[in-house]
């Protein structure tokens, strides 16, 4: 990167504007916008009122347009009511509940998204978040339902065990890659299925983790009260300390990647493994450590799922978090603030689902929006072409300013 002095001094404001427009943040924002637009199209064309009106479109086009507008407005206002602020509620406590639900859903997405993002930065593709989450949750459940410890200690031990278990499960991937060259994509896919099998077996077997008076279906007990993540805002909201853990994770991620020697090694290997090796970095060991740390972040999500529960757990405790984490990391372009925002957005999608169901719109629409957002994110030239944005700029005024904020001592 060349420094700011090289950019033409003439029309400096214009250069800054161009840099902002061509930057990643603008593109991410526009991708989200485009995702919502495509989602709106899907809403309209699956809406019965619109399809009925469209049959006599040429006679009275206004009917179709009005129906289309109603479909979009109803859909997105339901999403808003379900995920941010329920303006239809009578009581202020209820009105803010959607926001707390968004944060509750965002917690594990942010944590596991950080794990995937870290692997991305090292040039590894960890699609094993679901397996790592399940393996961590398995041992968290073990500690929280089969071991009794005093209040406080119990929670901490259970959480640490979960994080270590997830990290260890992920480290196996790094180990196999380093020792045999087995590609992490295949290994993590297989290990996802294996973890699911192990967890189901544990939840099915009475001597292991099956709930005490359980039937034939695999299900565990609820975590002991001493091991549950406490509610964050009192009993009115189900938001628990898992979200705070995720926020701590965001800061930890930022520190590791931007400040620590380990993070420097990670980034170096990610940029160019051969150059890193020449510079004396043990690339194989870095892969292993990076996978372990990546798994540890996923372990935070495991803590969230296993110890945030108030009832017995089933083997689908990972939900779709494993795959959502990849989209969160992509949308957040593997940076700490990016992953935080992306996790919040996708958390809002999950929180908004029930409200959309109520108005007869399938909540799966958020999956469509989510899919298109990452599609646009994955193809920068596409978004640039749609909005006629300038190509990547050489000037780094804004980037320098941003870096001076987040990096010690600014850019030299």
């Amino acid at each position: 990167m060349n420094n700011a002095a090289e950019t033409p001094v003439v029309n400096r404001g214009n250069a800054v504007l161009k840099e902002i427009l061509s930057g990643g943040a603008t593109r991410a924002l526009l991708s989200v916008l485009l995702g919502f637009v495509v989602g709106a199209i899907f809403m309209v064309f699956s809406n019965e009122a619109f399809l009925t009106a469209a049959q006599y479109f040429t006679a009275r086009p206004t009917d179709s347009l009005a129906a289309a507008w109603t479909a979009i407005a109803d859909g997105y206002s339901a999403l808003f009511r379900g995920s941010i602020y329920n303006y239809a509620a009578d009581d202020i406590v209820v009105a803010f509940r959607p926001l707390t639900e968004t944060l509750r859903f965002a917690g594990p997405l942010i944590a596991s998204g950080l794990g995937i993002a870290l692997a991305f930065r090292v040039g590894l593709f960890n699609i094993g978040a679901s397996g790592q989450l399940l393996f961590g949750a398995l041992w968290a459940t073990w500690i929280s339902t089969r071991v009794s410890l005093p209040w406080g200690v119990h929670l901490i031990v259970a959480a640490l065990v979960a994080i270590l278990a997830s990290a260890a499960y992920a480290a196996v991937v790094g180990f196999l890659k380093a020792r045999t060259g087995a590609h992490e994509v295949i290994v993590t896919i297989m290990m996802n299925y294996i973890a699911a099998g192990i967890l189901t077996y544990f939840f099915r077997t009475p001597e292991l983790l099956r709930e005490v008076d359980g039937g034939g279906t695999p299900k565990s007990d609820a975590p002991a009260e001493t091991a549950q993540l406490p509610y964050l805002l009192g009993d009115q909201y189900t938001l628990h300390w898992g979200f705070i853990l995720a926020i701590v994770g965001v800061f930890a991620y930022w520190w590791i990647m931007e400040r620590s020697t380990m993070g420097y090694r990670f980034r170096m290997v990610g940029h160019n493994a051969d150059a890193a090796r020449t510079a004396g970095i043990n690339v194989e060991r870095t892969f292993m450590i990076a996978m372990a740390v990546s798994g540890a972040f996923v372990g935070l999500a495991a803590v969230n799922q296993a110890l945030g529960a108030r009832a017995g757990m089933t083997p689908d405790i990972d939900g779709t978090i494993g795959f959502d984490a990849i989209t969160v990391a992509l949308l957040g372009s593997s940076t700490a603030p990016g992953v935080l925002l992306a996790g919040l957005l996708f958390g809002a999608f999950k929180a908004g689902a029930p409200a959309m169901q109520v108005i007869g719109l399938s909540p799966e629409i958020t999956g469509v929006v989510q899919g298109f957002i990452v599609l646009f994110i994955a193809a920068p030239p596409l978004v640039r072409a749609i909005f006629r944005l300038p190509p990547p700029q050489k000037s780094t005024v804004v980037a320098d300013w941003w870096r001076s904020l987040v990096t010690k001592g600014g850019r030299k």
Binding site: T180, I186, I189, G270, L330, Q370, P380
Partner: protein, 423 residues
């Protein structure tokens, strides 16, 4: 996206013949000999070679379970020894020997599971083939894409697209063949997106693949919930292709009913797999395609259009994978279900690698997975005394061991996953 750097998907590790394969084989052989043979069960197993309505019926074969274990266990030890000797001489274990090894181990496992019961061999083999067809066709799509140097993680999305369009178009038009065509075209269009992003925009291929999977899953889930579940009879009730026994061939004992009493989707797979092998390895076109995948610069230098070759191979690979998706719905159960492919595209990806990017080996690997799915269903019925969750895990553990032990050193097409910038 400058922070996301993914290395070439399958890097080469070593060239010299390692003794890992014989060692692993030895461990497997001893496990089989011990667990299923020496310490096996003494009840008899009835191998049922034929079904009720077969033309030529063979009598059931009654044998003690542990005897099968001992005989096959000794055979496995012998194969491992041969493999070891070959490795000492610097020769790789031939593929057919590995296949015989795997098949013997599986039969020993079956005999152990079925102790005191009958073993419906024809039923298991026949269903394994039907279940292997989507995996094999998905893998063929993957091979076509990766042989020209484009990593295809989007097989899952292609299978899902094919399954969805086959069921919906087949229902709407009341013509299953139109459903089949729609499935193939839809998956090919998805492939075109992958190809365009990978070749024109030079976006990381693995990321595009994952994104396309997410996208297809989101769209099909939404349409399924919003439309197909509301009016299933008119939108999602395609029926299946009829079963068409091939005259003559279907009368062969054991394999006839299993292989040649099937649906058109299965027969198409029988045609596509050898044709793909022939084109890839015996024609000029295939040679050029492989050249593009191994060394695009050299291919470009001798006048091959790298971008165009890649684009069309990836697209036609999508056609084949879409057919595999159609085999999931109108070639098997009929109606489309939410997330119908359920990870089979990822299994197909593993099949590509287990099969070393070769159509025949990949088909064998697909059959292994088809087999393990039947095994799971069948094992639940005979109640073998080991948790079914472990039987569920077997194919994944086997794949893991195979990727780590057997194929970790096998090379992918050299330029797999790398964009080619002409200039």
């Amino acid at each position: 996206m400058s922070t996301v750097v993914t290395p070439g998907l399958f890097s080469q590790v070593e060239v010299k013949v390692s003794k890992k394969t014989p060692y692993l084989m030895g461990v497997f052989a001893l496990v089989v000999l011990g667990a299923f043979g020496i310490f096996g069960k003494t009840e008899t197993v009835a191998f049922q070679w034929s079904k009720e309505d077969d033309v030529i019926k063979l009598p059931d074969f009654l044998v003690a379970s542990n005897l099968v274990g001992i005989v096959l266990g000794v055979a496995l030890v012998a194969i491992a020894a041969v493999s070891f000797v070959l490795a000492l001489r610097g020769t790789k274990t031939p593929l057919w020997l590995t296949l015989v090894f795997g098949l013997s181990a599986v039969i020993a496992l079956l005999a152990w599971l079925a102790a005191g019961n009958s073993l419906p061999f024809a039923f298991i083999l026949g269903n394994a083939v039907v279940l292997a067809v989507p995996l094999a066709l998905g893998a063929m799509g993957g091979i076509m894409s990766e042989r020209v140097g484009v990593v295809n993680i989007a097989i899952e999305g292609q299978l899902l697209t094919g399954a969805f369009l086959a069921a919906v178009v087949g229902t709407l038009t009341h013509n299953l063949y139109l459903g089949l065509v729609a499935a193939m075209i839809g998956a090919a269009l998805l492939s075109m997106v992958l190809a365009a992003f990978a070749i024109v925009y030079l976006v990381d291929q693995i990321i595009v693949g994952v994104v396309l999977n997410v996208l297809v899953l989101g769209i099909t889930n939404f349409i399924y919930a919003q439309w197909l579940t509301q009016d299933g009879l008119n939108t999602n009730f395609p029926g299946t292709f009829p079963i068409m026994p091939i005259p003559g061939l279907s009368a062969i004992p054991i394999i006839g009913p299993a292989l040649f009493e099937s649906r058109i989707t299965t027969y198409l797979a029988y045609i596509i797999i050898p044709v793909l092998w022939f084109i890839l390895f015996k024609t000029r076109r295939g040679l050029r395609a492989r050249a593009v995948g191994e060394h695009p610069l050299a291919a470009d230098t001798v006048g091959i259009n790298v971008a165009r070759t890649r684009f069309w191979w990836v697209t036609i690979g999508g056609l084949v994978a879409g057919l595999g998706g159609a085999a999931l719905t109108i070639g098997a159960v009929g109606a489309f279900g939410r997330n119908m492919s359920g990870g089979q595209g990822f299994i197909a990806l593993a099949v590509v690698i287990l099969g070393r990017w070769h159509p025949f080996s990949a088909s064998a690997a697909a059959l292994l997975f088809g087999f393990s799915i039947v095994l799971r269903i069948w094992a639940n019925q005979v109640n073998p005394g080991i948790p079914t969750d472990f039987i569920t895990m077997v194919p994944y553990v086997v794949t893991l061991i195979a990727v780590v032990g057997f194929v970790g050193r096998v090379r992918a097409p050299a330029a797999d996953g790398q964009p080619y910038i002409k200039g």
